[in-house]
Amino acid sequence: MVKTKTDPVRWLKENLFSTPGNAVLSIVVVLVVGLFFKSLLEWSFTKARWAVIPANFRLLMVGPYPLEELWRIWASLIAISLAAGFSWGTSTREQPLPRAPFVLLGAISLLALVWQFGNPSGTLVPVACAGLVAGVFIGRAIRTENRIHYFLWTALFFVCVILIGFDFGRGEVPSSLWGGLLLTVLLSVVSIVASFPLGVLLAIGRRSKLPVVSGFCIVFIEVVRGVPLIAVLFMAQLFVPFFFPPDFPQLDKVARAIIGMTLFSAAYMAENVRGGLQSVPSGQDEAARAIGLSATQTLFLIVLPQGLRAVIPTIVGQFIALFKDTSLVEIIGLTDLVGIGEAVRNNPDWLGVTREIPITLGVIYFIFTYSMSLAAKNLEQRLKTSN
């Protein structure tokens, strides 16, 4: 595609003033949007008390997580950035190294150094960024199989969960002390990971030719999908303990929330996976049976790998939805990002500060979900071209 430089007057004429109606529309929109941004800027520079955010930054990020145990989170973060860099590096090995992301990482590190000088986050953010860069170079240097990513990330998932919660001589960090963004990310990642096998099983069950099995799966999927998540969460909080023997140790709130979200997410996962399985042409199935594979072999070696591959972008989309939906745990009294935000808003020290916190929370959620949706789009494109 040849990109020609158009002069601004022509561009304006073509894009904003092509017809009289369009011209009027443009002017009205400029006026309305201008007024909106003027009052927004005026508010955010004169009336808004943005100090509430830095003052409660640690709370928003990790909640009441004990200060002396924060190294666990930093260690997980550095491990994750190394692994992310590694995966990124290996998957782009054939392409030239882009410059923009590194400039961005450098800028973030510099900002953290200047803004938080002397604080642990002032040194650890650059370390995490350096880990990411190191990962990229390691990934580009080493020849690996694609399969290593699955092992790496599965292992990392367990390592991080253990690192964040378990006992290392100085006692464990109970889940009641997890909070803020940490809890939001943990809830959504654990739930989506746990719901994956369940969802695949349900999807297979729903496609089963055995009426009892498919009937059971259909009823489960449709009932869960017909009920709001908040009802599922409340039910999990109230009734999960009822289904365990009385002498069974009491599950904590976070675990119950995870159970609820996993069951909820599994029903949606099942429908997504089913879509993927249906996209595998029936010739694949017939060919596999013709060369003598059993029904189980056909499913696990032929149909599932292809179906799941096709459905990866959809699963990212579901993860985005789940990530947003974790905010509902605030209503059942957990201190996730929104829960902490509400606690700060109700803090008498910050009386009258109402807009700053929801706006900041919105921005944090947006950064996560938008970058994930860009990644999903990218992935979809790559899957399309590789087929």
Partner: protein, 397 residues
């Protein structure tokens, strides 16, 4: 190798453990047994737990006095007081859920279609704003948006005494108030006129549409139907001796009285649901319009149709087929999301059920009711969507 006939027969007969039909039955029996075993174990645990905690499983509490006030709404017209039963309180909650859902669905559809069409506009500015709108509201949690609309939006409006006022309507932190037509005391009920008018308008529309399809005539059926509605309403008003009057809201010592009002909670919930859902509907509409083959546009323009005619008669009917199923899903989501009302204290059904459960201790029963009612609502909406789908399906003869 020599084999006799009978041996061959023996060999070709499939043993029962390799017979697909027998295997299927066995697999199902095993599955049923496993499920039954799980349910039995869970049921046993549930039973012992219920016994040790002294919880009952009967629904008789529904008849007891609720003892709590529901902030707004009525049991479909019958006012509610705290002396009424739990069942009635739950009915009020259901009424509130339906109220906000139906209003939300209508408004979200309108806003969503506008934004979706704006997203395809050739005007760069309009296009960009629609994109920003969609991305911002789709990518942030509804709960955060609701908290924003309620605590940072509606509640920060001026107090009643200083309420913003335009054209007889008031905007204050105690809600929105606007002039409304109400029944005059001692006058003939106007409700039948509404019913007759709506039925006549729908009949006109259906008749004209049939005629259009059969004869190819070209009346603007929608406009004529709206005209019929309007004429019937106005003539009914005069025939019944002007039974309606305009009720203007006015400030009193206790707040604002008269007219129609939206409570702050209702307003925030409605705004939140509409703005959030519209961003999803906009994407659905955009995808639907883009799914229509470009050749359809070009062919319609080539046979001399105007832009509006093309959109109305060629593109939209085809786009609708793509749009309707996901749109139905969005309606379902909106209805389910209305349960977030709990976060801002609007007494929707889930909130009322939760309060009732906590207060009476019959949490198990109230949650079961919630489950059932939401399921019924979901099934109702999806069956409406399926009906529409069937009616507009491509008819291949």
């Amino acid at each position: 190798m020599l084999t006799s006939d009978s041996q061959i027969n023996m060999a070709t007969r499939v043993p029962f453990y390799r017979d697909v039909k027998v295997l299927a039955v066995i697999a199902q029996v095993v599955f049923v047994l496993l499920v039954a075993l799980t349910i039995w174990i869970l049921g046993q645990n549930l039973n012992t737990n219920l016994k040790t905690r002294n919880l009952s499983t009967s629904f008789e509490f529904l008849g007891r006095t609720a003892g709590f006030q529901v902030a707004e709404g009525s049991a479909f017209g019958v006012p509610f007081s705290s002396e009424d039963s739990y069942l009635k309180a739950i009915t009020v909650g259901l009424y509130n859920t339906l109220r906000v859902s139906i209003l939300g669905i209508v408004l979200a559809t309108i806003l969503g279609v506008v934004v979706g069409v704006a997203r395809l506009s050739s005007n760069w500015l309009v296009n960009r704003i629609a994109v920003i709108y969609v991305e911002v509201f789709r990518n942030t949690p509804l709960l955060v948006q609701l908290i924003f609309w309620y605590f940072a939006g509606v509640l920060t409006l001026p107090k009643v005494k200083e309420a913003a006022q335009f054209g007889g309507a008031y905007l204050s932190n105690q809600g929105f108030f606007m002039p409304w037509l109400v029944q005059k005391p001692d006058s003939i009920s106007f409700l039948p006129v509404w019913i007759v008018a709506i039925i006549l308008a729908i009949a006109t529309f259906v008749f004209l549409e049939r005629r259009r399809v059969n004869l190819g005539s070209n009346e603007p059926a929608g406009w004529i139907a709206i005209g019929v509605l309007f004429i019937v309403l106005v003539s009914g008003y005069f025939v019944l001796g002007q039974p309606l009057e305009l009720d203007l809201p006015r400030t009193t010592n206790f707040g604002i009285a008269g007219g129609a009002s939206l409570s702050p909670e209702f307003a925030a919930l409605l705004i939140g649901l509409v703005v959030y859902t519209a961003s999803f509907i906009a994407e659905t509409v955009r995808a639907g319009i883009q799914a229509v083959n470009k050749g359809q546009w070009e062919a319609a323009r080539a046979i001399g149709m105007s832009y509006t005619q093309t959109l109305q008669l060629i593109v939209l009917p085809q786009a609708l087929r793509v749009i309707i199923p996901p749109l139905g899903n969005q309606y379902l989501n909106l209805t389910k999301n209305s349960s977030l009302a709990t976060a801002i204290g609007f007494p929707d059904m889930f909130n009322v059920l939760n309060t009732a459960g906590n207060q009476s201790g019959f949490n198990l029963q109230t949650m079961l009711i919630a489950l059932l009612v939401y399921l019924v609502l979901s099934l109702t909406i999806s069956s409406f969507v399926n009906l529409y789908n069937r009616a507009t399906r491509l008819k291949t003869r």
